[in-house]
């Protein structure tokens, strides 16, 4: 696959203190790519750097055709779904999804609403158009957030913990939605997740971060990672307590 994202020797952190160093990986066009790791391993910081919300301490991120991700007020080259959905509480579901369309097109209001409804239909929530985010369940909030992220038809979608806080059935429904988006629309998906069901079911490739070493300790398909000899990766996939003293990396 052609790389859509190339990350080279990337270091990210807070206040100059790195939480992840020398990370290098690429994401192919049309892939579903996962960033895995325990709490504190730098997943969220890496995610924020990938979408341009945090500047890297070192290294580079290259989005094909765009260069480094920058949120400088221009039309976004990708869609982003945040962990809690981050829907605007004062707007209805329909208005949330319509906001990026209103901002970046010159369509009349009716057409914007039609496009927003189309996105809501895609995630199975066309009936929730006039509801406020506070009236939705956790799974519905996440689906609306995906609809908003898809509003401008991006070819690249970043999702932060899409399955967190959801029951297994709702999480599986969300996974099915991502598979549909990828298959029908050719969307590349980069997601941060802990959910093993998602990793095994829909992810093509993944990187595993380690909070102790502050590095990527494994890259590959879920099957390859499951077979890894690295005890930390093995422990992650087997849901075991991690060994105290890691001895090797893969």
């Amino acid at each position: 696959m052609t790389p859509l994202i190339e990350v080279k020797a990337l270091s990210v952190g807070w206040d100059g203190v790195p939480v992840l160093e020398h990370a290098s990986f690429d994401v192919g066009d049309g892939e579903v790519f996962a960033i895995l790791g325990r709490s504190g391993s730098g997943k969220s910081t890496l995610f924020r750097a990938l979408v341009g919300l945090e500047a890297p301490l070192d290294g580079s991120i290259d989005l094909r055709g765009v260069g480094a991700p920058r949120l400088d007020g221009g039309r976004p080259a990708f869609g982003v779904m945040f962990q809690g959905g981050a829907l605007f509480g004062s707007m209805t579901v329909g208005e949330n999804v319509a906001l990026p369309i209103e901002r970046w097109t010159t369509l009349p209001r009716r057409a914007v609403a039609a496009m927003a409804r189309g996105k809501l239909r895609l995630v199975g929530l066309e009936d929730a158009e006039d509801k406020l985010p506070s009236e939705l369940s956790g799974g519905m909030v996440k689906r609306v957030a995906i609809a908003r992220a898809m509003a401008l038809e991006p070819s690249l979608l970043f999702l932060d913990e899409p399955a967190s806080g959801l029951d297994p059935v709702t999480a599986a429904e969300l996974d099915a939605l991502l598979v549909t988006l990828r298959r029908s629309l050719g969307v590349t998906v980069v997601l941060v997740t802990h959910d093993l069901g998602s990793i095994v079911g829909i992810v093509d490739r993944a990187v595993v971060l380690d909070e102790g070493e502050k590095r990527i300790i494994g890259t590959g398909s879920p099957a390859e990672l499951e077979e890894s000899h690295d005890p930390r990766i093995h422990a992650f996939f087997a849901r075991e307590v991690e060994p105290a003293a890691p001895s090797e990396t893969s």
């Binding site: 341009g52 949120l71 007020g73 869609g79 981050a86 509480g89 908003r148 401008l152």
Partner: protein
Amino acid sequence: MRIGDAAPFWRAVIDAARDARGGKLDIDLSGAKVVDGAIMSLLVDVRADLDRRGVASKIVGASPQLAPVVELYETKGGGSDSEAKPAVGLVERVGRGTGALVDAARHLVLFTWELSFSAFDVLRRPRKTDLARIPSLAEQAGADGVSIVLVLNFLVGVIMAYQSSKALRMYGANAYVADLVGISTTRELCPLMTAIIMSGRSGAAFAAELGTMTVEEELDALRTIGLSPQRWLVLPRVAALVLVAPVLTLLGDVVAVVGGGVVAALSLSIGPRAYLSELHGSVRASDVWTGLVKSAVFGGAIAFIGCQQGFATTGGASGVGRRTTSTVVTCLFAIVVIDTAATVLFRALGR
């Protein structure tokens, strides 16, 4: 020994350990049938303290039934390896405080810069600003706050008239109550009272709303769809308060003068006609408009501070609470500073 025995046990252990210097100390559990986690936590702490004082300690005599709990706490508690956190010294505290201050200043400068840039850019690209929200924000800050503004400013007029009535009566200058109430309320008291009310209502509301949006990642979401939070959220709020504050102040001026008039009639036997006539002769247009200009500046400052504090929120719900409180305090401080500067400036300009 269980958690219910912890208090006497703690005193006994501390007394036993107090005089231990050098050498070693065995903690004998052979007489204990049951030891729960609470008691083990205390023992681990005492052992760490002994270790720091150079006393090697050891738990001995634990029965096979107690061994698992002893082992669990010895492992997890760190035993003799644990060290007390060093106390933070004065220099470090000053350093941390200075660092926090520098960080806050940096945040403020960045926020001001981005807002200034956004304000100029609005003229070029108005679609990037949520101008349609200005009327509803103005309504929330203005119409919804009218009643309290009217009541408090009326009472300010009443207070001013009452406070001055005794002295004025003494000198036979009853009619001058109109001068006193009119000038003091229009130039100073109504803009101040209105700004204080707006700090508590609108400033705090902006900080809480934007603070919640910050911790819920809504500001990040705005950025990722290509909208500047400063342009989209801050500018409409600043514009709304700049527009609304003078209107509220003007209404406040009117009711304060009415309040003074009521006291003048009831307490000083000054009729409405005489009161208004004296008012007309003493209160100049510049008294009113300097007050209105000040209140517009107060409004802008309150919105700016509320939004800036909201944007700087970290740490979830408690962070929102801290920033809301901080907003009100900062607004009150800023209002007095701005008022002082404005008074000096208007005096220098002959107003």
